[in-house]
Point group: C2
Chain length 613, copies 2
Amino acid sequence: MDSDYGIPRELSDLQKLRSHYQPKLPPCLEGTTVRVEYGDATTTADPVDAQTISRSFPHTYGQPLAHFLRATAKVPDAQIITEHPVIRVGVVFCGRQSPGGHNVIWGLHSALKIHNPDNVLLGFLGGSEGLFAQKTLEITDNILSTYKNQGGYDLLGRTKDQIRTTEQVNAALAACKSLKLDGLVIIGGVTSNTDAAQLAETFAEAKCPTKVVGVPVTLNGDLKNQFVETNVGFDTICKVNSQLISNVCTDALSAEKYYYFIRLMGRKASHVALECTLQSHPNMVILGEEVAASKLTLFDLTKQVCDAVQARAEQDKYHGVILLPEGLIESIPEVYALLKEIHGLLRQGVAVDNISSQLSPWAFALFEFMPPFIRKQLLLYPESDDSAQLSQIETEKLLAYLVEAEINKRLKEGIYKGKKFNTICHFFGYQARGSLPSKFDCDYAYVLGHICYHILAASLNGYMATVTNLKSPVNKWRCGAAPIAAMMTVKRWSPNPGATSIGKPAIHPANVDLRGKAYELLRQNAARFLMDDIYRNPGPLQFDGPGTDAKAITLCVEDRDYMGRIKDLQVYLDKIRTIVKPGCPQEVLKAALSIMASVTEVLSTMSSSGNNL
Amino acid sequence: MDSDYGIPRELSDLQKLRSHYQPKLPPCLEGTTVRVEYGDATTTADPVDAQTISRSFPHTYGQPLAHFLRATAKVPDAQIITEHPVIRVGVVFCGRQSPGGHNVIWGLHSALKIHNPDNVLLGFLGGSEGLFAQKTLEITDNILSTYKNQGGYDLLGRTKDQIRTTEQVNAALAACKSLKLDGLVIIGGVTSNTDAAQLAETFAEAKCPTKVVGVPVTLNGDLKNQFVETNVGFDTICKVNSQLISNVCTDALSAEKYYYFIRLMGRKASHVALECTLQSHPNMVILGEEVAASKLTLFDLTKQVCDAVQARAEQDKYHGVILLPEGLIESIPEVYALLKEIHGLLRQGVAVDNISSQLSPWAFALFEFMPPFIRKQLLLYPESDDSAQLSQIETEKLLAYLVEAEINKRLKEGIYKGKKFNTICHFFGYQARGSLPSKFDCDYAYVLGHICYHILAASLNGYMATVTNLKSPVNKWRCGAAPIAAMMTVKRWSPNPGATSIGKPAIHPANVDLRGKAYELLRQNAARFLMDDIYRNPGPLQFDGPGTDAKAITLCVEDRDYMGRIKDLQVYLDKIRTIVKPGCPQEVLKAALSIMASVTEVLSTMSSSGNNL
């Protein structure tokens, strides 16, 4: 299996053109001299979690934020790294492939070679399995040449996505030691970055000199927090899916006789579905977060869709496009409870054929109510993160089936008076996941790769590479690093009796924020999307011309750049110190004291209320 | 329903850019003066059919080919059309939408307005239903503005695709008379163009002055014959599908654990599957024509795929991509026979639930052998062209199911020694059908629209607009018109007892030519495609840069331009006449006679053997 990795490939004309694209670097990373400025010690978003996390991560919790600045930046405390001894770095793809992953490796390799041509980058073959087995490929510019700006993870491949058991952690430690690595870069999503933090802590405890760095690469877009604005791959996935959704919308409008139910890959959270809706304007989207928040049952959802179909039929419209996130199925309360029972029995070793007879009476009733194809899918063994096998459960077919039954019932009762209701179901995921990355993802991943080098040059351990202010052009991007432990939360309960996640600090997938601006934008337009068919076709992914520089709408409407604001706050604090220094007039000091007292009081009150803000 | 058609739409940036693209015209159609040159009277490809067809089409069979030439072309017999009285033309979308359809209307409108600003173009709303009901929308440049170079048929919509029953034909006749149409342009595939020919004949018989013109627009690419090289929409569909297939290939190569079974829309023939294979190099394709020719059973196909999976496993490869045309299911002999029985019973009015009990013993056995989901799909009522509902039968899932069962059996028996075999199934069709058209389809459709005008200006009836030499740049394209009746064949038998097509002349879908160059190219590469994963990613559809001018490979490898060659032959014949005119030396005449005698003999022998060439 090794021999196939990293071999030069024949590229199509378009791939060749893309492979010649050179992503730009923000000014702070240009040249060979970069300043590192450290912020204050970090804490977690929920102060209640801080103690648990600090106990679990004694070596790596509470480390300061790091900002990378131009060598000429006028920041007195920033430290310029001038020494660049030879280092050896390993890099590994963990978890599901995401477009742009290859560019992280390219960016890292490029930064390594700029700072010292003798630096070495080793890629682990076949994901974490390659790490444990110490199977490596030395990355060279020659090897990279046909993988630059290309999709997939096929340069190195990937298999399992876990570095968690004692054996796995020990194998990783042994690999880093025996390969004499100064740094290990882990490319992945929430699970892999949690593993990276754990590995960093274990290495620190074991006095292993290898520093561990995480990179936020996941098409789900659910590794989102105060430090991370979006993930590599999300932009591409949403653009490719939106192209396909809008093609289906055009098809619906041309044939005028089908309702398309489209399920979108993206795991538990509905970020992909929300973004695609804002890009392509289908008639309807059902977000898992909405369903969970309103505790909508399968019956409620069916009714909601049927009412929409009926309202459209009254306007003589017999076509439509409805999006569902793959995580929807777990957000429906009664289905979730059923899944919970099934997973519990499966974990107890009950054979699949005997499950239904051991369900509680109400769960059994729901199970029997389901069409046979769904029953089979609900019985699948849960994934390692305790969730159901979301990509395998055809929620779109279930909903289409229930809606059709209900419409036929209404037709018989004379409530629905329209034409025949026809459905076509789709699952969009794999066909987007292997796409050529968008320009944004090429740039973002390449810059993150460079940042990984600077994190290692600064000898930081347990950090994630971050870029903020992403909605602005590349020359305005702010580059930094945040301790992964600061992104963690602790789940105190789970309705899932077998859940291994209770009480353990981890990066949990961020849900769509129902109080956020992106969701607000959706709600403002939902009625028009539903009735007026204002389908929007962003077209196929481009590298030139209109649309090239379009970024994810959910990224741009939110007012983020947390890292930038943390810096702005520092500037204010420094300014106050300059204005109110010993010798300043009595009145100025008095005014400053009074204002600072009330600011402190307000912030203390707000902070102690924690997550309930 | 009317109010929504032709309304201006909000376009995305990319759509706007595309809408400003102005397709070029070949030199012969530039300016306002075009010469028409008529060739010899046409016949059909199979001389045996000629008599039947001439009896069915007494007014429109045997008409000459028409070539449109530059006004300055030095062709003595060509006629310049100088009079351009005001004409009124109707246009209708028939059958399934195909990318580029809108540009036929734009090209036609543009030619009409160039030649006389008072010309009128009426679009029928909602397909042939709108024609029967005389629901029209006058096409203006303003209405066209947001539909130029855009996908779908939503400018006018479409519903049913038939103009065949006496009521339908009479309604069409009444519409053309009452709207005082000089021409009716029918945009569609094999069925719609057969209907167009029938309508032309009926109109001629009824002395209705409306001339009927057909335009070859179908994503299936199966309206292929000596006069028609390819169809509008085929290029786009294949490019969009190839992009998705290659994304899936990249995904397969990254995860290394799935076999993807992808079924492609395209009706009975396998043109789309062949073209996509040549563009994206998946591991395997199973063409319906191959299966039919070799009479491969479901068991043979399963074995073939299992052997491939096993061969790859021996090279430690556990991933792959396999393409199937949607028509495959009908090409498998025993399944076809089963479908034939089911359709016969359905036509007799047997209820779906009672079908299986009335099947012949062997058909019953096969039916019972099938997994339940396929049984349900096989029981669907056949389409109007007597074929099964191909888009609804999940052949990819059936094959994946059978292969998995066989691999598990081999695993038990110790024959297969590899890892677990995992499949993911896809149907690609709707998501490509609504795409923005490729540059080629934009150009081709626009030129065809112009040709429709010249056909009408020349008062031709029952013709199809044609462009040949399409593999060359637009300025080398040859424009013409061919009588639709000359493209027909007569089916003399059908295994389907209820088939309405027997004995009736019609344009039948062209199969993939297993002796053609495109198929040869596939065979030459099949082994490398299967084992070496030389996946090729043509990338998303582009309008600029590399890949923009790429054309369908199946179009380019074939040595076509029949129309051009017919013209070349004429030039030779004319030359002989010039050389060997009265007064020429005795020897020259003698030599000419001798050679012509043998040429005549050879060609007569070849022609009389008809389709058995």
